[in-house]
Symmetry: C2
Subunit: 202 residues, 2 copies
């Protein structure tokens, strides 16, 4: 197995997921700033032009962070990170989507449209970036409330939803386009999650 | 079980999924135009304020189209719609996310920002709607190419990725904000998918 990646929230999500599973593989750096991800050679691996991409030993390519994670979960079911019965699987999926679609995607749109980080290759609309930042903020009380009642986002067990929110929250803090409010429950949970061995740098 | 829904692409995705599984339940109409989904009573069911929401017999609520679908898949594994081994599960997840994130979400943003359908409750940025329409269009060749080589989007078997692309494609045709090109492979596949009993109106 070989993982094509570049420094990004999605690469970090896969790195943490792999450490939780205790698996590792060869890493290949992809230079996003130089546009390596939209080169012909890379588009043959992933026509979507995105990292990370996992190459299997038979030459099959799996792209999309969560598809890679599900592949690893199927091969290494423990520790379980997607739920292990109908209801827990549904709860993980529900909370993970709330994090991804309502928060992380909006933070990413705010970042790209406000800062123009990829303006050499996409049309940026700063006004939309501000709207997206507002949508990301609007999702925060849902997580703050849930983490006041539950140890982890989807309930009693640590899951991929926690990985994505912790990485997304860190990214939002770093790029500073979303004015995150004080959230004592999220901060309690974040300290706990970030203390896990899987969140330590190599 | 009880399903809260309103006429929308996501409601249709769940309806088709349930018909594929041969399951049904009580339906409760939610009036989006009147803002019933953002009423206090509904937000207690789903703090995200979105439909569909599945209420279980014990009063548990599951929101998010794909979380509802995964719950039903776990209870009724056949016919399998999410893949049944590590690689097929990863491929379904990968193609499903390409459809959802690269195509359907962009069609929805184009629709909402260009037409101002929900302008009574959200800020619309028409310029972003045009950019999102362009992003949706840019994803189409990936599906057209795949469906020239495979019977279904994720390979040999019909999956939730096909449901989402068929519903999303129909929605894009209906709302006319994305100028869809001629795509013979997608049209071949669409005719086949839309002929399934699960796609017939009640």
């Amino acid at each position: 197995m070989k993982l094509y990646e570049s420094p990004s929230p999605n690469a970090l999500r896969v790195q943490v997921f792999m450490k939780e599973k205790g698996v590792d593989c060869e890493r290949v750096a992809v230079d996003l700033r130089a546009g390596e991800n939209i080169s012909e050679a890379f588009l043959a691996k992933n026509p979507g032009g995105r990292v990370p991409v996992l190459e299997l030993d038979d030459g099959t390519y799996i792209s999309e962070t969560v598809a890679i994670s599900r592949y690893l979960e199927a091969l290494h079911p423990q520790p379980n990170l997607f739920g292990d019965d109908a209801l827990s699987m549904a709860k993980v999926e529900m909370w993970h989507r709330r994090v991804e679609i309502n928060f992380l995607l909006n933070v990413a749109m705010a970042f790209r449209n406000i800062t123009g980080f990829f303006k050499d290759r996409e049309t940026c609309v700063p006004e939309w970036g501000e709207v997206a930042a507002g949508h990301a903020l609007a999702a925060v009380p849902m997580f703050e409330s849930q983490l006041g009642e539950q140890e982890y986002l989807a309930g009693d067990n640590f899951s991929i939803a926690d990985i994505t929110l912790a990485v997304g929250w860190g990214f939002a803090k770093q790029v500073k386009v979303v004015p995150l409010p004080q959230c004592p429950n999220i901060e309690r949970w974040l300290a706990q999650v970030q203390a896990r061995p899987s969140f330590q740098a190599d």
